[in-house]
């Protein structure tokens, strides 16, 4: 059994919070540069140029590139032969979030409950999803999730008869409805299958994939490409001012489902797409 000190987890989480909020992933910067080349609208190009300048300034000064430094969401892949010692895993992650958001000058955006809207003051609790895996590895993947785009996300329980065409229509309708509110160019996470909550979780996890990396399943990769084409034909464009680059990437994840079901969830991420991971 491999032992991982809780203090190491907290330190890694603190660094991830600061890094993810002040430096855009290289794959995402590359996607923005491609969008700049492909965008046909002059105003749209100008928006993308500003986003790239903003990323430079934020990274140079180690400040957040978006004031909404989001929910701190973590996917934890912990091997069955690894365990955390000297503290509880959830508390170790929260401690890292507390330190990262304080020392990184990041905004604290979490309130106690939807009804009692008192700010918790330190951006905790983190949102943690565990995935048991074989071996003794320990991998933490963070997604900083802004609310503006999360608010425009949607889930639908389709019927098997409605099928894949209805699924595609629902994804595009969700983008149309979100319009400028989701802060395009967006990254689109699509989860299908499983019961209700599984689809939503897959859609969120799909956002952590490096930008534009296709699904290894060629049929799903083709679906991603088709959806991207349809989304970019909507005309919404960068910042919603009109243009040809509404999404940078569509990531689809699929899971087995019930004979009676075809759940589909769409989780949107704004152009400040913040994700990172670390292995301990």
């Amino acid at each position: 059994m491999r032992e991982i000190q809780a203090g190491r987890v907290s330190a890694a989480v603190r660094d991830l919070c600061i890094e993810a909020n002040t430096k855009l992933p290289e794959s995402h910067l590359a996607a923005l540069r491609r969008a700049l080349d492909d965008e046909e609208s002059p105003l749209g190009r100008e928006v993308i140029e500003r986003l790239l300048q903003n990323a430079d300034v934020a990274s140079e000064r180690c400040i957040a590139f978006c004031q909404d430094t989001g929910y701190a969401v973590f996917f934890v892949e912990m091997g069955s032969e690894a365990r955390v010692t000297g503290g509880e895993l959830g508390e170790a992650i929260d401690e890292g979030v507390r330190r990262g958001y304080d020392e990184g000058y990041l905004r604290k955006s979490i309130v106690r409950s939807p009804i009692d809207r008192t700010n918790t003051g330190d951006n905790t609790p983190a949102v943690v999803y565990h995935e048991p895996v074989p071996g003794d590895g320990f991998k933490l993947t963070m997604l900083v999730k802004g609310a503006g785009c999360d608010n425009m996300s949607a889930l639908k329980m389709l019927t098997p008869a409605e099928g894949v065409e209805a699924m595609k229509d629902f994804v595009v309708e969700t983008i149309e409805r979100a319009g400028p509110n989701a802060s395009p160019p967006v990254t689109v996470g699509v989860g299908m299958g499983g019961p209700f909550e599984k689809a939503a979780l897959l859609a969120k996890k799909a956002l952590t994939r490096p930008s534009g990396e296709p699904n290894p399943n060629p049929e799903l990769a083709e679906l991603e490409e088709e959806l991207l084409g349809r989304i970019n034909a909507t005309g919404i464009g960068p910042a919603g001012y009109g243009g040809t680059q509404t999404a940078l990437a569509v990531h689809v994840e699929s899971f087995p489902t019930h004979i009676a079901a075809f759940p589909v969830a769409v989780n949107l991420d704004c152009h400040s797409h913040r994700t990172g991971s670390v292995q301990l």
């Binding site: 004031q67 400028p180 005309g235 464009g237």
Partner: protein, 190 residues
Amino acid sequence: MSKEPIRLQTPLTGEGNESLRTGDVVLLSGVLFTARDAAHARIKEAIENGDPLPFDPEGQVVYFTGPAPARPGHALGPAGPTTASRMDPYSPLLIERGLKGMVGKGVRSEGVIRSMREHGCVYFGAVEGTAALLADRVKEAEVVAYEDLGAEAVRRLVVEDFPVVVVNDLRGGDLYREGRERWRRPVVPG
């Protein structure tokens, strides 16, 4: 942005706003007041109770933002616009009291747009996700009300050449609708 920018000094006037057109690029200088969800809820309460408002809305511009903390040496932390539609239930209350500009992102309701046209108020878009660049244009920042709300407190900002685009003008123009119509393409079946 693509056109030659128009320089505007706040406070704004209804007459001055008449000449602005959807898609105009504007550089705002002067005072902006920040307020978002929680501050708007309190402003509504203050109006209902007849209590004083955090600022006199006449001629003023509200910026929908909740900044991140400032590093030492900066007037304000990163501060980009938040989704304006969440303020739709409240905005007419301020517009009827003389508010002449709002800065945010995302579409406004028909009710807000009607109220803006009736009272000479313009809605400007700032580019979300450029919080670090926008904070550079803020020269002074001070909390003037609701300090307990933290990032959501009302702040008085002094800005210089703060870059925005006219989204909703006084003639019914709407950049989001027009931009989308202009760039929409038919989908070629695969």
